[in-house]
């Protein structure tokens, strides 16, 4: 389709066989040029483009209304035409400098032949011509390099016997032979003398061009449409960077012409010549080393040809590999626990801007007429109407009456987004496929996107200001595809390891943990409250007990109400009965669900949490009842968990980190014991009595022993903390249920921070033989090595604090270096893998049809449809 409404029905399809890049010859430049540019001024007093200036109308038009003087086309029709500048003196093309250098060094300065004896020439020529057929470009370049290396050894021309002087390249763009400078004119003469075969040996085959074309005598001027000027609001014209650069070239060139014809002194000519060289160089690329970048009047470096194409901001990565899209929105995200898992809350302002094209039928005409009637400012309404002949009409207060009359089946109405529409929701960096998922719209007040907390995990989002993107599919196919492939319900199980990545988080886990652990009984009223919040409308079948005419139920019964009929046997994270249960067969740590009844055990992360090796219960439900049941279960579990937690009240306290007197005493004893032991080791070491471990020095052995003692003491404190904490400790409950935090975090706050490590060892840097001036020379004890005996709450000593700051800074450095590194790694992986696909014969193939794997993954298993990477059904039942 072309904008003016002409449709090209016949699409011609041809496969591109090959692309060849060649040099432009001066003849061709002249031939394709429609105008010779000589005037540096762009417009006359009336603001009309001057003939044979850079804005000459022969090079195409950018102003609407004007016609191209070459093809007669208007703005969008005329593709633009090249012009050319005739350079007063030749200059080097900066990108060809290395190749010119090779030619100068490898050819005779006198006769222009390649510096190889005839025999060798024939031998290499044959190799070169053969290798191109067999092995392609890379090996051809290798051979050319070999040829060039051969010529380096020859000091006297084998053809005319002339002695060869050393030629040096003085960066950026001048050549010196002996102590005489070679001007572009000299170089041009030499390159002209090189024969076609000699030139082929050095890398330019006659088909690709002639070596002397590397020295510019004519400069092509790109069409105006390549460098459009912008008219500012003030009516002022602002020219493109390329135009600026070109006018520099034209101006210098004209001055050079004038001085040449006036017979000006050699120095002036040379200065102007160098200036011309500079301008032409920066026209091609403005970031050449040792060439100061050409700047705009404001001091901003000009963006010339190479910068337009190259790098992240260049044509390829910015405009071709990535484009801006319509029907998308971006705003801050915030949580909404009452939203369904597969919903997304969309602000009304955004819903009014984003539209879905809906075709008018006799079934929806009433609804759509209502939208059109509402006008563009109300919600729900519509923004555009598309007539059957493809005309797009805005709905406004003036037009809506007419459009309402006109509307009939066959029309398309671009209506506002409404509840239930399928949209794509995305958070960058999009590192895996769950970073883009399809949600159902829920239009809400206020200005943020709202999402269910369970979907935070796959997006890796939090609410400290994160923003997310939303895209609205515009066709029926796109919507269907989005719903069935990218739907949240289809992405619960990650293709990485085949376990749920969507599950209950944080308080939801804590709530269910406490609900299933408590031995309290709940009255029918309480149970009704809890279950209603979890969207369950039935009571458990049999009450656990009955007192005073009221039915009582226990927590496990309540939880069972949200379960589908599954069987489940799996160990929980911690044993709910014994605080330090180490027995792997302890029956209390076994969670047993029979026919959807929680018989025994507690629910924690291992059953309902996201990410491996958790979410086993969700996995069990998926295996038996599929994704939809799982979504429903997760939703209800989350609501029930939060409801229960709200009922009992839950917080976290500073006193959670308090330890009883005995515990503090025990910890002190553990550290004193370790200190004593370490002192003994150090004494042994100093007296030379310490025996080295095999393959280690005595010093290393001492280090090992110290670290071992410290570790042992630290582990002991961990156990002491665990033993002395009360069961109603909120922080401990969170750690045990796996909702947030760990026992280690808790003991860091309450008991001791322990050994700090810097790149895997104790802290050693600092002063001579000691880490800080506060220690004695040669002190290798725990404190001097970064051991923090105190807890974060109790407070660190100044030296401990300093060591802690060292490791803290090191960690920040480490993460800030790792993120971009892994990002680039990811980019490379994506580029390498992006067009692999599984063909219909189950082979994995690349874009050219080459086989990469004969069966996907070697076993043909789609991990996201498996149970933790294993088949869901016994191998015997696999249909061959």
């Amino acid at each position: 389709m072309i904008d003016d409404g002409i449709t090209i029905n016949k699409v011609l399809r041809e496969k591109v066989g090959s692309i060849e890049f060649r040099m432009l010859s001066p003849e061709l430049i002249k031939k394709m040029g429609v105008v010779k540019v000589v005037t540096p001024e762009l417009y006359d007093a009336d603001g009309y483009p001057i003939d044979s200036s850079l804005m000459d109308l022969k090079m195409g038009v950018i102003d609407p209304g004007l016609r191209c003087r070459t093809c007669g086309g208007k703005v969008r029709e005329c593709p633009g035409h090249f012009g050319y500048i005739e350079l007063a003196r030749p200059v080097f093309h900066i990108r060809y400098i290395p190749l010119i250098y090779v030619f100068l060094k490898s050819t005779c300065s006198d006769c222009g032949r390649i510096l190889l004896p005839q025999v060798e020439i024939e031998k290499w020529l044959e190799r070169l011509r053969n290798i191109k057929k067999i092995r392609g470009t890379i090996s051809r370049l290798a051979i050319i390099k070999a040829i060039v290396n051969k010529t380096k050894l020859i000091k006297k021309c084998p053809h005319c016997g002339a002695k060869q002087e050393k030629i040096k390249l003085v960066k950026p763009s001048s050549f010196v032979e002996g102590n005489k400078k070679l001007t572009p004119v000299d170089v041009l003469e030499r390159l002209k003398r090189v024969s076609d075969t000699d030139s082929e040996l050095l890398g330019i085959s006659p088909a690709a061009g002639r070596p002397e074309w590397m020295v510019l005598t004519l400069l092509p001027v790109p069409p105006v449409s390549v460098r459009p000027s912008i008219t500012l609001e003030s009516g002022e014209r602002s020219e493109d960077d390329l135009t600026h650069k070109l006018s520099d070239i034209v101006r210098t060139n004209q001055r050079l012409y004038e001085n040449l014809s006036a017979g000006a002194p050699e120095i002036i000519i040379e200065d102007l010549w160098d200036l011309l060289q500079y301008h032409v160089t920066t026209f091609f690329a403005n970031n050449i080393s040792q060439v100061p970048p050409a700047r705009h009047r404001s001091g901003r470096p000009l963006k010339t040809l190479a910068e337009r194409i190259k790098g992240k901001e260049g044509r390829f990565r910015r405009n071709l590999a990535g484009k801006r899209v319509n029907f998308s929105a971006r705003t801050v995200i915030s949580p909404d626990s009452q939203l369904d898992i597969d919903e997304v809350g969309v602000p009304e302002v955004i819903a009014k801007e984003l539209t879905v094209p809906e075709r008018v039928t006799e079934w929806n005409i009433k609804e759509l007429k209502e939208y059109v009637k509402n006008g563009p400012d109300k919600y729900p309404s519509a923004n555009y109407v598309i007539t059957p002949d493809g005309k797009r009409k805005v709905i406004s207060d003036e037009t809506r009456e007419v459009l309402l009359e006109e509307l009939a089946p066959g029309y398309i109405v671009e209506r506002h987004l409404k509840d239930g529409d399928i949209v794509l929701f995305n958070r960058q960096p999009s590192l895996h496929r769950m970073s883009i998922m399809a949600h159902k719209v829920r239009v809400l007040p206020h200005k943020t996107f709202r999402l269910n907390l369970c979907t935070v995990v796959p997006y890796n989002a939090d609410f400290d200001g994160d923003e997310m993107n939303l895209h609205v599919p515009q066709t029926e196919e796109a919507r269907a595809e989005a719903e069935f492939l990218l739907g949240v319900q289809n992405n619960i199980v990650t293709p990485r390891y085949g376990l749920p990545i969507i599950g209950c988080v944080q308080d939801q886990i804590t709530g269910l943990y406490l609900l299933t652990k408590t031995e309290d009984l709940f009255s029918q009223k309480e149970v009704s409250q809890l279950l209603a919040q979890a969207r369950v409308t039935q009571l458990p079948k049999k009450p656990a007990s009955r007192k005073g005419g009221i039915n009582y139920y226990n927590g496990k019964q309540i939880f069972s109400m949200i379960l589908p009929e599954v069987d489940y046997r799996e160990k929980s994270k911690t044993c709910p009965k014994h605080q330090h249960c180490k027995d792997p067969r302890c029956k209390y740590s076994m969670v047993v669900i029979e026919k959807g009844e929680l018989k025994q055990g507690v629910i924690d992360v291992k059953a309902i949490g996201p990410e491996a090796p958790k979410g086993k219960l969700i996995q069990a439900i998926i295996n038996k009842y599929g994704d939809k049941a799982a979504v429903e279960f997760i939703q209800k579990a989350a609501l029930l968990g939060m409801a229960y937690l709200q009922k009992i009240g839950f917080t976290t306290l500073l006193t959670d980190t308090d330890l009883p007197e005995e515990a503090i005493k025990e910890i002190k004893e553990a550290f004193d014991f370790a200190q004593k032991k370490i002192d003994a080791y150090i004494k042994d070491y100093e007296e030379g009595k310490l025996e080295a471990y095999p393959g280690r020095t005595v010093r290393e052995t001492l280090e090992f022993k110290i670290i071992e003692s410290i570790n042992r003491a630290r582990n002991k404190t961990g156990r002491i903390v665990e033993r002395h904490l009360k069961q109603d400790n909120y922080t401990l409950i969170m750690a045990q249920s796996g909702a947030r935090g760990s026992l280690l975090n808790l003991s860091l706050m309450s008991a001791s921070v322990g050994q700090l490590s810097l790149r895997g060892t104790r802290i050693r840097k600092g002063y001579r033989n000691r880490t800080l001036p506060h220690f004695r020379w040669g002190d290798v004890g725990p404190a001097a090595g970064g051991f923090v005996r105190h807890s974060y709450k109790g407070g660190l000593t100044p030296t401990e604090f300093f060591f802690n700051a060292i490791t803290g800074r090191d960690t920040i450095m480490d993460t800030s270096m790792r993120t971009p590194k892994s990002g680039y790694l990811q980019r490379r992986l994506i580029n390498a893998l992006q067009d692999l696909k599984i063909a219909y014969d189950n082979t994995v193939r690349d874009a050219s049809g080459r086989i990469v794997q004969f069966v996907y993954g070697g076993d043909g298993i789609d991990v996201s449809k498996s149970d933790n990477g294993r088949l869901l059904i016994p191998k015997e039942e696999v249909v061959k």
Partner: protein, 91 residues
């Protein structure tokens, strides 16, 4: 493939004894034809193995031969893989 013993003698190593080396054999022309027909491909579309690869050397493979690998895996049991022998890049 050979390794030097302490005395400096060369001792050949049977790489197929290593548990890290999968079972492999050179396919007969008939098998090759069947394979290429099965996947509807030419030899150029197969994964490759260097002529200089220890396995190719040990099997005494020639350019253009197809080597069949039989691997064992936890999830798949036995799985087959095929590679065509290609020459290396000179120098």
């Amino acid at each position: 493939m050979a390794t030097k013993t302490k005395k400096g003698e060369e001792k050949p190593i049977d790489i197929f004894k290593s548990r890290l080396v999968p079972d492999c054999k050179i396919m007969s022309p008939e098998e090759e034809k069947k394979l290429l027909e099965k996947y509807n491909i030419t030899k150029q579309q197969l994964p490759r193995i260097r002529l200089t690869d220890p396995v190719a050397k040990a099997l005494d493979a020639k350019l253009g031969n197809i080597i069949e690998f039989t691997r064992t895996s936890k999830t798949a049991g036995l799985s087959k893989f095929y590679r065509v022998v290609v020459g290396g890049i000179s120098e």
